[in-house]
C-alpha cells in the first residue's frame, strides 16, 4: 500500500483533533448530569462514613452487596483493554486500530473505580493502611489489591504509549491552544519527531506491554474470582470460578465497548472511522464470548442442579424459583440466549442498532449476574441461619447504597468523557500507519481518498 498523501493525513488529523477540548451541547448536559450524581454519591458516602455501615442493608449474613458486585463488574469491564490491545493484536486483527484508545480509556476508568469499590465497602477505610503494614501474602484480598494496583499502573502506561506520537501531532497542530495546554502537549510528546530510533523504542515498549498486560489482566479477574471461590459457601465452592469470571468479564467488556463506540461515533461524528464493520466484528466477538459464557453457566448451575445436593439446594431454589428467580432468568434468557440468537443472524449483526441493542441486553445481564454471584450466596451459608435478627436474612439495598452505586457508574462514564476531552478518541498515527500498511478495508474505515471533512468538524 502506498503512503498516504500528506493532505489526506492532514485531513485525518484535523478531523480527529477537532473533538479535543470542543464543547458539545448534549455532552455538556451529560457531564453536568453525571457530575450531579457523583456529588450525590459523595454526600451519601460521607453519611455512610459518619454513621457507619448500618446505613446500608449489609448485615452479618449479606456482608457483601452492591459495592462488591460493582467491583466485580468494573474489574470485568477493565479486561476489554487487554482484549483489544493484546488478544486482537496477536490475532492480527487490523480493524482494532481505531478502537485501541477507546478500549484503553474504558480500562483505565473501570480499573480506577474497581480500586475504589472495596474502599466504599469498608466501614473504616483508613484501615486499608493495615493491609500494607500487616498484609498476609496467603490472603486473596492482598493479591487482589496488588493485582488491581498493578493493572492500573500498567493500563496508565499502555494508555500513554500510543499517545506519544499523537501528543506530538497535537503539539505541532494545535498551535492556537492555551500556553499551559501546549506545555502539557510538549511534555507528554517526549520530544517525538518520528525518527527511527524513537519508532524502534516505541514499538518495543508496546510489544512488551501487550505481552505483559494480558496475564496481569487475567490475573486481576481470576484473583477477584478467588476472593469468593476460596470461601466455603454454596455456589462459590467450585473450581470453575476463575474462567467463569474471566469470560464473563470479556463478554461484559465487549458489550460496553460496543455501547461506548456507538455513543462516540454518533456524538463526535466519527462515522468515517467507526464503521459498521467494527460493530459487525465486535458483534461477532460478543456472540462467541456470550455462547461460551452460556456454556460456563450451564456448567456452573446445571451440574449442581442435576445433583441438588443438600448444601446447594437452598441457593439453587432461590435462584431458579425463589426471590431472585426473575433476575436469574433475565440474565440467562435476555442477557445471554436472546443476544446470541440476535447476533447469530447476519442481517441483524450488520445493523449497528441491533448490535447495540444486543450489547445493552448483555451488559444489563452481566451487571445483574454480578449481583447474583455475590449476594444470594451469602444469604445461603452452609450452616443454616437460625433465630437471626429480622433483616439479617434478606438484602434490600438502601437509598444510600443505590446512590453510591449510581455515582460510581456515573463516575466511570464521566472519566471516559473527560479523557476524550483531553485526548483524541482515535489513535491518529496508528490508523494512518495501519491504512498505509493494510489499506482502509482491513482497518475498517471509509475510503480516505474521498475523505471529506464532516460538517462541523473542521476548524
Amino acid at each position: 500500500m502506498d503512503k498516504l498523501h500528506q493532505e489526506i493525513k492532514n485531513s485525518i488529523q484535523r478531523e480527529l483533533l477537532s473533538t479535543v477540548g470542543r464543547r458539545y451541547r448534549r455532552e455538556t448536559f451529560w457531564v453536568l448530569f453525571l457530575a450531579m450524581i457523583c456529588v450525590g454519591g459523595t454526600i451519601a458516602w460521607i453519611i455512610q462514613l459518619r454513621k457507619g455501615l448500618g446505613v446500608t442493608a449489609m448485615r452479618d449474613y449479606a456482608s457483601w452487596g452492591l459495592y462488591i458486585s460493582l467491583l466485580f463488574f468494573f474489574v470485568g469491564v477493565s479486561l476489554i483493554g487487554a482484549l483489544v490491545s493484546s488478544v486482537l493484536r496477536f490475532s492480527g486483527a487490523k480493524w482494532r486500530y481505531p478502537l485501541i484508545r477507546i478500549a484503553e480509556a474504558v480500562t483505565l476508568s473501570s480499573i480506577f473505580f474497581a480500586g475504589f469499590m472495596p474502599v466504599l465497602d469498608m466501614g473504616r477505610p483508613e484501615r486499608l493502611y493495615f493491609l500494607i503494614t500487616h498484609g498476609r501474602i496467603q490472603s486473596p484480598i492482598l493479591w487482589d489489591v496488588v493485582a488491581i494496583a498493578t493493572y492500573f499502573i500498567g493500563s496508565v502506561i499502555y494508555f500513554y504509549l500510543p499517545l506519544i506520537p499523537d501528543m506530538a501531532i497535537m503539539r505541532d497542530k494545535l498551535t492556537d491552544a492555551p500556553p499551559r495546554r501546549r506545555k502539557i502537549f510538549r511534555f507528554l510528546a517526549m520530544g517525538w519527531e518520528g525518527n527511527h530510533r524513537q519508532k524502534y523504542f516505541l514499538k518495543k515498549a508496546m510489544n512488551i506491554m501487550s505481552v505483559v498486560i494480558l496475564p496481569v489482566a487475567v490475573s486481576v479477574h481470576t484473583i477477584s474470582a478467588w476472593l469468593i471461590a476460596l470461601t466455603l459457601r454454596p455456589g462459590w465452592n467450585t473450581s470453575i470460578m476463575g474462567p467463569y469470571f474471566v469470560f464473563g468479564a470479556l463478554m461484559a467488556g465487549c458489550a460496553i465497548m460496543i455501547l461506548i463506540i456507538a455513543k462516540l461515533r454518533h456524538g463526535y461524528r466519527l462515522e468515517h472511522y467507526l464503521t459498521p464493520k467494527h460493530f459487525s466484528n465486535l458483534g461477532m466477538l460478543l456472540m462467541a464470548l456470550t455462547v461460551f459464557y452460556l456454556y460456563l453457566n450451564l456448567n456452573k448451575y446445571g451440574v449442581p442442579a442435576f445433583k441438588m445436593a443438600k448444601d446447594e439446594r437452598g441457593l439453587l431454589n432461590d435462584l431458579f424459583f425463589g426471590h431472585n428467580a426473575l433476575l436469574f432468568w433475565f440474565t440467562m434468557i435476555a442477557g445471554l440466549v436472546i443476544p446470541v440468537i440476535m447476533l447469530s443472524i447476519k442481517k441483524l449483526r450488520q445493523s449497528i442498532r441491533w448490535v447495540v441493542f444486543a450489547s445493552l441486553l448483555v451488559l444489563l445481564g452481566a451487571l445483574i449476574n454480578r449481583y447474583l454471584i455475590v449476594t444470594p450466596n451469602m444469604l445461603h451459608p452452609f450452616i443454616p441461619i437460625q433465630h437471626a435478627q429480622p433483616g439479617f436474612t434478606i438484602y434490600n439495598p438502601t437509598v444510600i447504597e443505590w446512590t453510591i452505586t449510581a455515582s460510581s457508574l456515573a463516575g466511570f462514564v464521566l472519566l471516559i468523557i473527560l479523557l476524550f476531552k483531553l485526548f483524541p478518541v482515535i489513535t491518529m498515527w496508528e490508523v494512518i500507519e495501519g491504512v498505509e500498511k493494510n489499506g482502509e478495508e482491513q482497518v475498517g474505515i471509509e475510503d480516505l481518498s474521498n475523505l471529506q471533512i464532516i460538517q462541523g468538524h473542521a476548524s
Binding site: 493479591w143 496488588v146 504509549l161 506519544i164 517526549m190 519527531e193 523504542f201
Partner: protein, 197 residues
C-alpha cells in the same frame, strides 16, 4: 457410656434449681427504680433430638410466679451470645424453648453455657440465669490444619512465587518507562529545547 445417659447426668447435676447468678444484673440504676426484683431459675431437660430449657420467673419478695414476661435463651459463644429461642412466661411463671441436641460445645471440656435473660422489661429488673450443659458433639481437636495457606505464616514457596510474579511484572513496567525515557533522549536537541524543528 451412651451419650444420652451422659447428657442426662450432666443435666441432672445442673438442673436442680440451677443458677440464678449475678452477671452484673443486680445493681440498681435509675432506670430500675420502681421495677420489681425477680428470681430466675433455669431447668434443663432433653428428648431424642432437642434440648428443652425451662425458665421459671418468681417475684423476689413474695416468691410468687410472674406471668407475661418475655425471656430470651442464649448459648454463650466465644465473644458473644447466640440466641437459641425466646418465650413468654405463663401463669406459673414458666417459659420453655427447644434447641437442637447437637449444639456444639464451646471448648475442649465439651460443655457449653446456656443463659436465659429477662431484658428491658417495663416492670421487672434485668435478671439472668445460666446452666452449663454437656454437648454430645465433640469439640474439634486443635490439630494442625493441613491447608497451610490459612495458617498465620505463608509457606516459603508462596512468598517466593508471589514476589517473583509481582516483581517481574513491575520490572517490565520499569523497563517500559526506561524505553519512554530513551524516546525522549533520541529526540533532536533543537526539538526539545526550542519546540521547533
Amino acid at each position: 457410656m451412651p451419650v444420652k445417659l451422659n447428657i442426662l447426668i450432666v443435666l441432672l447435676a445442673f438442673s436442680i434449681p440451677v443458677f440464678s447468678q449475678n452477671r452484673g444484673d443486680t445493681y440498681s440504676t435509675d432506670e430500675d427504680a420502681g421495677k420489681k426484683a425477680a428470681v430466675l431459675l433455669l431447668q434443663m431437660g432433653a428428648n431424642d433430638t432437642m434440648h428443652v430449657a425451662t425458665a421459671i420467673l418468681k417475684d423476689a419478695a413474695t416468691s410468687g410466679p410472674i406471668k407475661n414476661v418475655d425471656v430470651t435463651f442464649y448459648v454463650q459463644r466465644s465473644f458473644g451470645l447466640m440466641k437459641v429461642g425466646n418465650g413468654t412466661t405463663d401463669t406459673t411463671g414458666t417459659a420453655s424453648v427447644e434447641f437442637p441436641i447437637n449444639t456444639r460445645a464451646s471448648d475442649k471440656s465439651q460443655l457449653f453455657t446456656l443463659l436465659v435473660k429477662v431484658e428491658d422489661n417495663d416492670n421487672i429488673r434485668d435478671v439472668t440465669a445460666q446452666a452449663v450443659v454437656r454437648s454430645n458433639i465433640p469439640f474439634p481437636t486443635n490439630e494442625a490444619v493441613p491447608r497451610a495457606l490459612i495458617g498465620s505464616k505463608a509457606p516459603w514457596w508462596m512468598v517466593i512465587s508471589f514476589w517473583a510474579a509481582v516483581g517481574s511484572v513491575w520490572a517490565f513496567f520499569l523497563y517500559t518507562l526506561l524505553l519512554i525515557y530513551k524516546i525522549k533522549k533520541s529526540a533532536n536537541y533543537s526539538f526539545t529545547t526550542n519546540q521547533k524543528k
